[in-house]
């Protein structure tokens, strides 16, 4: 379970998160929508401790992320994150990309790490690209590799930060299909996305962020069918 309690966060004088409360249950899929600068991506990097917060707290399975005593490196193993930029490690093959952290961080034996990597890469449809370097992959393939790399760490949670925003339109589908598959398999996920159709399909709940505030959160049918927040109404009519 991820519990976010009254989290505030500023960059300089700009307050990007103004007291966010959100609880995500095990197995739940929550998507976060909203305009750029609404704070939704920042929230994800706060959850895995890449960004410090100013006040409030975030608990992952009961461990307070920003507590001094928390071993962030250990905690991050539980939380997979995939970014807008694919962040493939260019000097490693696809297989090595997915094996590296398993071997060096989790200390898995090489054979086991390789088996896991192959399994995850097959899962995202890259089973035939094992020995290829990322520069030879399309953006969509690189992004699926990044997903497999995160999944290979056997995380309890997956965070997706606008993972299709940097992709050519014809490549968006293959990545969203991968996310749909994960959602069906019961992975606990928070997805920041601009893909409304996708959000509507996969989410248990959809949250709308506006100017650092979670203006509305509801199951997709409610949120898209009968939005109450005036900003959300504006946002939805602009994106349709």
């Amino acid at each position: 379970m991820i519990e976010i309690e009254n989290v505030r966060k500023s960059f300089g004088t700009l307050e990007v998160l103004k007291g966010i409360d959100l609880t995500v249950q095990k197995g739940e899929v929550v998507t976060v929508i909203g305009g750029s600068g609404s704070g939704k991506s920042t929230l994800l990097t706060c959850i895995n401790g890449l960004e410090p917060i100013d006040s409030g707290r975030i608990l992952v399975d009961g461990t307070e992320v920003h507590a001094k005593a928390t071993d962030l490196n250990r905690l991050r193993r539980k939380i997979g994150i995939v970014f807008q930029q694919f962040n493939a490690f260019p000097h490693l093959t696809v297989l090595e990309n997915v094996m590296l952290a398993q071997v060096k961080v989790l200390k898995r034996p090489k054979a086991e790490a390789e088996a896991e990597a192959v399994k995850q890469l097959n899962h995202v449809g890259l089973g035939d690209k094992l020995a290829v370097y990322p520069s030879r992959l399309s953006g969509g393939q690189q992004q699926r590799m990044a997903i497999a790399r995160a999944l290979a760490m056997s995380p309890g949670y997956m965070l997706f930060d606008e993972v299709t925003s940097a992709l050519d339109p014809q490549l968006v589908g293959e990545v969203l299909d991968t996310l749909r598959m994960l959602a069906r398999e019961g992975m606990t996920m928070i997805c920041v996305t601009h893909e409304m159709k996708f959000a509507r399909e996969v989410s248990d709940r959809v949250a709308f962020f506006h100017k650092g505030v979670m203006a509305e959160i509801a199951p997709p049918d409610h949120l898209f069918g009968a939005p109450r927040d005036p900003e959300l109404q504006k946002f939805l009519s602009a994106t349709h």
Binding site: N48, N73, Q85, N87, H91, L92, A101, V105
Partner: protein, 221 residues
């Protein structure tokens, strides 16, 4: 005007001695590069550490290495330290001087290389649970060394040529030192130094070609 009679045979007769000297020259250059690269990695980490004392050490090192003559650096290693009662052999002095120079230049090269690697690489590694050092070691460093490979090759060539400065601190077993001694014995100045120049050229050319082969094998991405 020209009444100099070339006597190449005399010079060529000394070739084996000069080739022995060339081996010493390569030994100094290789050692100074190997240690220089390690030091430059450490200095780069000092720079990245955000700890003021460490980054000041790195900055000072780079400033001195790059903005003073290599000859000065070698002199300091020999006569400078000598003033404080630390006496290094000519071999150790030249090795220390060139290593110091290499480390400074390479640190600067590494800085440039690091700029070419997006921050998101380290961020992605941290997200997978790597501690800062692990992210550097496994994700950033390999990319940095690749980008800096060509400048590293240049520095290696430079290290070979810098060994010639060893004569100023009494080094006489390297290529330049051997040539100088032979010149004193035979006075075949032009022939001997021309021959030495050819040997220097062959060594540095071999390094450049060798580096290209290594790069092709190592960097397949």
């Amino acid at each position: 005007m020209f009444n100099y009679t070339f006597q190449w045979k005399q010079a060529l007769a000394r070739l084996p001695q000069m080739l022995d000297g060339a081996l010493v020259t390569m030994q100094i250059a290789l050692l100074s590069m190997a240690i220089g690269i390690l030091l430059a990695i450490v200095l780069t980490m000092f720079r990245l550490s955000g700890i003021r004392v460490l980054s000041a050490i790195a900055r000072t090192w780079v400033e001195i290495a790059r903005n003073t003559p290599a000859l000065f650096q070698i002199y300091m290693a020999h006569f400078g330290l000598g003033s404080f009662g630390i006496y290094l052999s000519p071999f150790a002095s030249i090795l220390l001087g060139i290593t110091f120079n290499n480390a400074g230049y390479l640190t600067e090269n590494f800085r440039g290389a690091l700029k070419a690697i997006p921050d998101t690489q380290a961020r992605a590694a941290r997200s997978l649970g790597f501690p800062q050092a692990g992210a550097f070691r496994y994700v950033v460093l390999p990319q940095m060394l690749r980008i800096a490979f060509l400048p590293m090759t240049n520095q290696m060539v430079w290290a070979i040529l810098m060994t010639s400065l060893g004569v100023t601190v009494g080094m006489n077993s390297d290529l330049y030192g051997v040539t100088q001694d032979l010149n004193a014995l035979t006075f075949r100045t032009f022939e001997l130094f021309a021959l030495a120049a050819v040997i220097f050229y062959v060594i540095t050319k071999a390094i450049t070609l060798g580096a290209r082969l290594i790069a092709a094998r190592l960097f397949r991405y």
